[in-house]
């Protein structure tokens, strides 16, 4: 096993670039932006690494978003994400390039991959970072990791092994500006996928609205389940994205990507309209970044009222028709 405790041998910041449906994930761009900042602090550079098939154009794109160098592993055997192939290829890349910091998006695949890779690389990994900084005295990576429903953040470091790995929560950092004139070095990586025991036989993915980035989100809670069709109509009529609380995602009313809260997405809209949610701590942490919150709940003592700028104590079944007719009539 490689000695990951020879700290001084490890240099630079590496960013795992995830992509789906022919696009770089916005969390990967967000991390590139953050990595640039960290690189300035450490006077080092940013290397993106991307795995897939027929993905060469992403190299230039990543450079325009801030990577100094992009390592491209392009192979039919990487056409679909599998834990083992991606882990095997990335482990070799990291062993070869020895970055001091390695950041990945905290997506389903990113977390699946990072958890295995960190053990393979014999190093430390922090999860779902919402704060990513360099500690001035030590130049160590310090990540803020939310726990207990998201209100308490643990500041974590990985002092004695390298790379210092972290997954970064989507939607926390801004997407940096794309500079078309910015160029980076594009390098091809040898692909040796090794043993791959899982096989993806079907993949059903819809390119939906990225609710983490939406300007306005209507979020349905348990109290809005029976009126979900009207909730959709309401959201459509004001041009809003739609989100749900955990119990609605459990009932498969919407996919998990629309679940707002500490175990789902943190939204950062100008306006969140919360319909029929009680205001559990793990949910509320997901709307912390909303500029304005309007809540509707029939319970005058619902916890959500304290987390709203404007709250209405009303039966959603009565309010929604009034809202819809008002919007249609305007």
């Amino acid at each position: 096993m490689q000695d990951t405790t020879q700290v001084s041998e490890f240099k630079g910041i590496m960013v795992y670039l995830e992509h789906s449906a022919g696009q770089l994930e916005s969390v990967s761009l967000e991390i590139l932006g953050k990595a640039r900042e960290l690189a300035e602090r450490l006077a080092t550079d940013v290397t993106g690494v991307i795995l897939g098939y027929d993905i060469r154009e992403f190299g230039e794109e990543a450079a325009q978003f801030g990577a100094d160098r992009v390592l491209v592993a392009d192979s039919p055997s990487l056409a679909q994400y599998t834990t083992e192939a991606f882990c095997n290829v990335l482990a070799e890349v990291v062993r070869d390039r020895k970055p001091e910091i390695f950041l990945l998006g905290a997506t389903h695949d990113g977390r699946d991959l990072a958890g295995r890779l960190a053990v393979r690389l014999n190093t430390g990994l922090t999860a779902h970072a919402v704060q990513v900084d360099i500690e001035p005295e030590t130049n160590l990576l310090v990540c803020g990791v939310p726990g207990f429903g998201g209100s308490i953040v643990a500041r974590c470091k990985c002092p004695r092994s390298r790379p210092q790995m972290a997954t970064v929560r989507p939607g926390i950092f801004p997407v940096p500006e794309r500079r078309p004139q910015r160029k980076g070095a594009i390098e091809t990586v040898q692909v040796n996928t090794g043993q791959v025991r899982t096989k993806v036989v079907e993949r059903s993915v819809k390119a939906g609205v990225d609710i983490a980035r939406a300007e306005i989100v209507v979020i349905a809670g348990r109290g809005a389940v029976t009126y979900f069709d009207s909730v959709r109509k309401f959201a459509d009529s004001i041009g809003s994205a739609i989100g749900v609380t955990r119990p609605l995602a459990d009932r498969e009313l919407m996919p998990r990507d629309y679940q707002v809260g500490s175990t789902g997405i943190a939204v950062t809209p100008k306006l969140a309209i919360v319909l029929g949610a009680s205001g559990a701590a793990h949910f509320v942490s997901g709307i912390r970044g909303a500029k304005t919150v309007i809540s509707v709940n029939k319970d005058p003592d619902a916890d959500i009222n304290a987390d709203a700028d404007y709250f209405v104590v009303e039966d959603i079944g009565r309010l929604l028709p009034a809202l819809l007719s008002k919007l249609e009539g305007k």
Binding site: G115, F148, R155
Partner: protein
């Protein structure tokens, strides 16, 4: 299976900057309960034994007994002061070592993540230590012969993954409704069932790889995120009047 304090019961002490769990009621980590339910359903369809495995102090025992009352066949608690302070690296190592000691397994089922630390890193870590394939964020699992077919949640949808056994799967919260303990089994589980306890010495773990000593990460400090200040203004009236005011607030939020 992990025992966690109920999130809403945990208080942050501003003075000491530590968590006050003293007032917190504990529970079985909810996704772990979903994993147990999935295991019990598979047992009903395919036979086999369901073994509960947990790492923690002795106060975990009543929760393991609850799992036994739900239908698990056996329970092993990895309990040793030397395990304390473990991050996900030594935790996955210790649990994987115990699984090796149990031997002869087809499936390792875990909850997708714990509600306290919420990393979700232990399941893939265990799979790596055991060198077996993994499927994380799984909502359905079918076994045919020595093959597993799993529905896995990904961004924007799902994928169907096939993998040979033995396999590690992390199970999504909410993918099933965990059963209640069997009333007759409960008495036996509480009074007579014997939990197996393994210490570090029992398992032959590398002492440098466990507990805080084996951890790569350190927690510097805990910070409570300030609660955003909200206006908490109530809007009142008939539904029609409320609708008018809400539409007005929507316009205001966008500066028109």
């Amino acid at each position: 299976m992990k025992v966690v304090p109920k999130t809403e019961d945990v208080r942050f002490d501003q003075q000491t900057r530590t968590l006050d769990r003293s007032g917190a009621e504990n529970e079985i980590n909810q996704p772990d309960k979903s994993a147990l339910e999935m295991a019990l359903q598979l047992k009903e369809g395919h036979g086999g034994d369901v073994v509960l495995l947990s790492m923690g102090p002795s106060f975990f025992e009543p929760y393991l007994r609850l799992g036994i009352a739900m239908g698990a066949d056996n329970a092993i608690l990895l309990s040793d002061r030397a395990f304390a302070g473990a991050d996900t690296y030594p935790t996955s190592y210790t649990i994987a070592t115990a699984i090796r000691k149990i031997g002869n397994f087809d499936l390792v089922l875990c909850g997708e993540e714990s509600s306290d630390a919420s990393t979700g890193q232990v399941p893939p870590g265990i799979a790596e230590w055991l060198d077996i394939p993994q499927v994380t964020y799984l909502s359905q699992l079918n076994i045919e012969g020595s093959m597993a077919r799993a529905k896995r949640t990904v961004k924007g949808g799902y994928e169907i993954v096939e993998a040979p056994l033995p396999l590690l799967a992390s199970v999504e919260l909410g993918c099933n409704s965990p059963r209640f303990p069997d009333f007759r089994r409960k008495r036996w589980a509480e009074k007579e069932f014997k939990i197996t306890v393994w210490t570090a010495a029992d398992m032959g773990v590398n002492p440098d790889k466990i507990g805080s000593k084996g951890s790569h990460t350190t927690v510097d400090e805990l910070v409570e995120l300030p609660r955003p200040s909200r206006r908490m203004q109530r809007i009142t009236g008939s539904p029609e009047e409320e609708a008018v005011l809400i539409v007005q607030k929507i316009k205001e939020a966008f500066g028109s």
